[in-house]
């Protein structure tokens, strides 16, 4: 089923009105694609979709689960993790407690990757990682810490590329086609709901990773979220973005120092 841009605006209005959920700052082309996918998936037309959004209890949460992109990997972009280990962790090591926020963490692969990296550097015991997302369903998966064993080959390959010499399989237990992340890696992690569009600062962090989330927002919302991330960082804390994301706002650029251009890592300096 196809959906016009006019239909899309009507849906954004409806979702805001009926569910109090603001999709206004989302990039239209991506959102249109995701919603067209829902129409196909549920075999609905535009009227049917509106009907379900208004009248079918629980439908909105499935809708929300489908419009957010939940594609992630452990140690995705291995060089990002190399940059963290070599250029960020030496700073983090000087803090008595290290608080980290993975914003838009989806099913948690990045959070567990950070946990492994911290453990390797003997920093995990004084670290705490918050993983947040707007989608409660993916957070359930994240909390379980159990992943498809079939994916571990790619993750293991990513891990090797971070230059770590030990075996990735030391960090999980395999069985029944699944890989369960070891319990000692889960103890300093909290997964919880947070909406970057409508929720505010909830703690102060030494490192925030928010990768491939902002690409789904328009420039006005991007700027608002950048402000939120800035406010959530301790002075001299670090911000890791997706490799194609840009900190555009002049007044924020002045408050950050670029640590690694290719891996898009910034440090708050003012």
């Amino acid at each position: 089923m196809s959906l016009s841009f006019e239909n899309l605006e009507e849906l954004i209005e409806l979702v805001n009105h009926v569910h109090g959920f603001d999709l206004n700052g989302y990039s239209r082309a991506s959102l249109k694609r995701r919603i067209s996918r829902i129409l196909d998936l549920y075999r609905l037309d535009f009227r049917g979709l509106k009907h379900n959004l208004i009248n079918t209890s629980g439908f909105f949460y499935r809708f929300l689960g489908e419009i957010t992109v939940n594609v992630t990997e452990m140690f995705r972009d291995p060089l990002f993790y190399v940059a963290l280990r070599e250029e960020v962790f030496p700073y983090l090591a000087t803090f008595p407690h290290i608080k980290i926020w993975s914003a838009g963490c989806s099913t948690g692969e990045e959070v567990y990757s950070l946990a492994i990296l911290l453990k390797k550097q003997n920093l995990y015991d004084r670290s705490f990682i918050y993983g947040t997302d707007i989608n409660s369903k993916v957070l359930e998966t994240a909390k379980q810490g159990i992943f498809d064993l079939g994916k571990m080959k790619v993750y293991s390959d990513n891990y090797l590329q971070t230059g770590c010499d030990d075996s990735f399989s030391d960090y999980y237990t395999a069985g029944y086609g699944a890989a369960a992340i070891h319990h000692d890696l889960r103890k300093n992690i909290l997964f919880s709901i947070h909406n970057l569009v409508s929720d505010g600062v909830f703690n102060e962090f030494q490192l925030i990773t928010c990768r491939n989330v902002l690409i789904y927002f328009d420039t006005a919302l991007q700027e608002r979220v950048f402000n939120l991330l800035y406010e959530s960082l301790a002075l001299f804390g670090f911000l890791g973005l997706g490799s194609k994301e840009t900190l555009r706002s002049e007044h924020l650029r002045e408050r950050f120092r670029l640590i690694n251009k290719k891996q898009n890592i910034y440090q708050k300096i003012a």
């Binding site: 990039s27 239209r28 082309a29 991506s30 694609r33 992109v69 690409i215 420039t219 194609k244």
Partner: protein, 182 residues
């Protein structure tokens, strides 16, 4: 313009002959591995009359410029004529997917698009060409007999989504004279 396996040389030759000051924007989708750095944009830029660069997210689309989809992302076009990137599931095992970009371009530009699909080893692009055709755009497919790998052009032709089937020589002539067709 889109290609996969075996299409790059023709694509390169087309980009080289586009006239300077071209009053349209070119969007290029090439399947490539996100893991390895390539600098094809810069190397083409030195031999071309138009600007050649990687599309950046939320970048306004300008004429006389060829934008390459970054490896590892789908490239979408917003109604305000800027680019968006998307890192959702691969389509036809591809990210960037040709289908995704063509569909999105058809949504925004409608009949004001011409799409050229070249050599490639899978069916990505065929559905996108249909979308361009439905929107009233012009669909050009490389003659499968001259394509290094004919799967991709044949898939589009099989769906009836080829308004013009051009030989390599015709593709180059078309590109060289592109400003006269607009």
């Amino acid at each position: 313009m889109a290609c996969s396996a075996g299409g790059f040389n023709v694509l390169f030759n087309m980009l080289k002959v586009f006239p300077g000051g071209l009053p349209i924007a070119i969007v290029v989708i090439v399947h490539r591995n996100a893991r390895y750095e390539t600098n094809i944009e810069e190397s083409i830029m030195t031999k071309s009359h138009i600007t050649v660069k990687v599309a950046e997210e939320k970048e306004p689309i300008r004429r006389a410029t060829a934008y390459f989809a970054p490896a590892g992302y789908h490239l979408l076009i917003e109604p305000d004529h800027t680019f968006s990137l998307d890192i959702s599931e691969p389509v036809n095992f591809c990210r960037p997917s040709i289908d995704v970009t063509l569909q999105s371009a058809a949504d925004v530009y409608g009949p004001a698009i011409a799409a050229a699909l070249l050599s490639g080893a899978n069916q990505d692009g065929a559905q996108g060409m249909c979308a361009v055709q439905r929107a009233g755009g012009l669909c050009i497919v490389q003659d499968p007999r001259e394509a290094a790998v004919k799967t991709m052009p044949e898939a589009a032709i099989g769906l009836g989504a080829a308004d013009l089937i051009l030989t390599n020589e015709e593709l180059i002539t078309f590109s060289r004279q592109l400003d006269t067709y607009i």
